[in-house]
Amino acid sequence: MFNLRRFDRSTSVFIGLLVISFLLATFDVRSQGTGASAGLREGTQALFGPLQRAAGFVLTPVVGLVDGISDLAGLREENELLKAQVRELERELADTATLRNQVAELEAINGLEPPEDLNAITARVVAASPSEFDFTRIIDIGTEDGVLRGMPVIDENGLVGRIIFVSDSFSQVRLVTDPSLTVGVRVKETNETGTVTGQGSGPLRVEMYGAKEPIEEGFRLVTAGSRFPPGIDVAVVTEASRSEASFTLTTRADPVIVVSKLDFVKVIVDWDPLELPEDIPEETDPGEAPPAVSEEEL
């Protein structure tokens, strides 16, 4: 079955690369994405950012076409006679429909006022992470536009996430749905504070510490301040809950953003997060220990 002798050298290379990979990952986790790894990412993003933007530009009509055709599947089944005509029309209109949606979204986001009159820069989402398990997006502005690591990102619905990496012309945003990002929130209706943590494609996990009042379905959660400007919509509670004997209240909430429809976003460029004590990690990025209660912006 296996010829071990034949793969002796490759096995050595394999083991060596495994060790290197694990050391790299450990190093990157410890450095929290700064240092040499940030330089590597910057170089890669500088190289691939334009490629990704070009690929997105070229392939968007294809996506629109496929999307349009799939939307018409039911109609085709009902009326075979109209199938060819509709498909042809859809092919022609796919680009227009996509453009119209983008214009509407751009108009909406340009009408959005960032909280507390903070300056914000509009950006476009040009790519996502190639990994199925990674909830990040690449946007087409970077340090040349004044973007810095840690800046909040919003869209017309509310909080999108935060900048975790910046190159000259591109930035990477960790979405609020990412399991490694925790955001401090305040319940708009009761003014109590807690945190929300992403759960990938699932609803956000809400934790309130020592909450005195129950939380009801439909309550709105907004940023509490510190790491993000206060008052930005984050999520809407989907399950009522109350804390028993002052223990932690835990419930779920749907993010206000629609991750699958992120196209244009705004980066709040002049928000200065409060300084945190030195013994508290700067942010809850991948690989850090699970966030403590005090780690985020309560």
Binding site: S10, L24, D28, T44, Q45, F48, A128, S131, F133, S180
Partner: protein
């Protein structure tokens, strides 16, 4: 000849990574919220026609590229794709080239890649299992890869086999 195939494989991995992060990341093209793991598939397909050491290095390089384009710690996908390349290398002679065996291999190796990523992510504190659809994110891309393999594997064969000294073929 081996160098030529290595260059072709690297080019394919780059193209796959760009497609994965753009068109395949578009939710309008995703069925049930997932897409094929194109980079994984290209590594599986390419390793078939490469010498052992470059093949393992290809997996590492492809994974490193995915790490650098994504937001996870650098080294995670590098480790996963190194394992993918090595396992493909070890199995390529054992497997008959029948389509069912190949499909099973693609399915199994892609499943393993997803599962390994989740295990690594858990070890490194990324909490991938906090996502209720984590299992779906492992299974669906593997199933899609089997479908997409019908086009990718013969394509890679066509690109890499003619001048390769190694007589193996996904398409034969």
């Amino acid at each position: 000849m081996s160098g030529r195939n290595t260059l072709i494989a690297l080019g394919l991995v780059v193209v796959a990574a760009v497609l994965q992060s753009t068109i395949l990341a578009d939710s309008r093209l995703q069925a049930f919220g997932s897409a094929p793991s194109l980079v994984v598939l290209v590594v599986i397909a390419s390793v078939r026609y490469m010498e052992p050491e470059p093949a393992v290095l290809l997996g590492f390089t492809g994974g490193l590229l995915m790490d650098l384009l994504g937001g996870q710690p650098i080294g995670m996908w590098a480790l996963v794709l190194t394992v993918v390349a090595y396992i493909t290398l070890r199995l390529r002679d054992a497997a008959d080239d029948g389509p069912i065996v190949i499909a099973a291999g693609v399915l199994g190796i892609t499943l393993l890649a997803g599962a390994l990523w989740v295990v690594l992510g858990t070890i490194l504190g990324l909490k991938p299992l906090a996502d209720p659809s984590a299992i779906r994110r492992i299974i669906l891309p593997a199933m899609y890869n089997v479908v997409v393999a019908a086009a990718v594997l013969p394509g890679v064969t066509w690109l890499m086999r003619p001048r390769s000294p190694i007589r193996r073929g996904w398409a034969t």
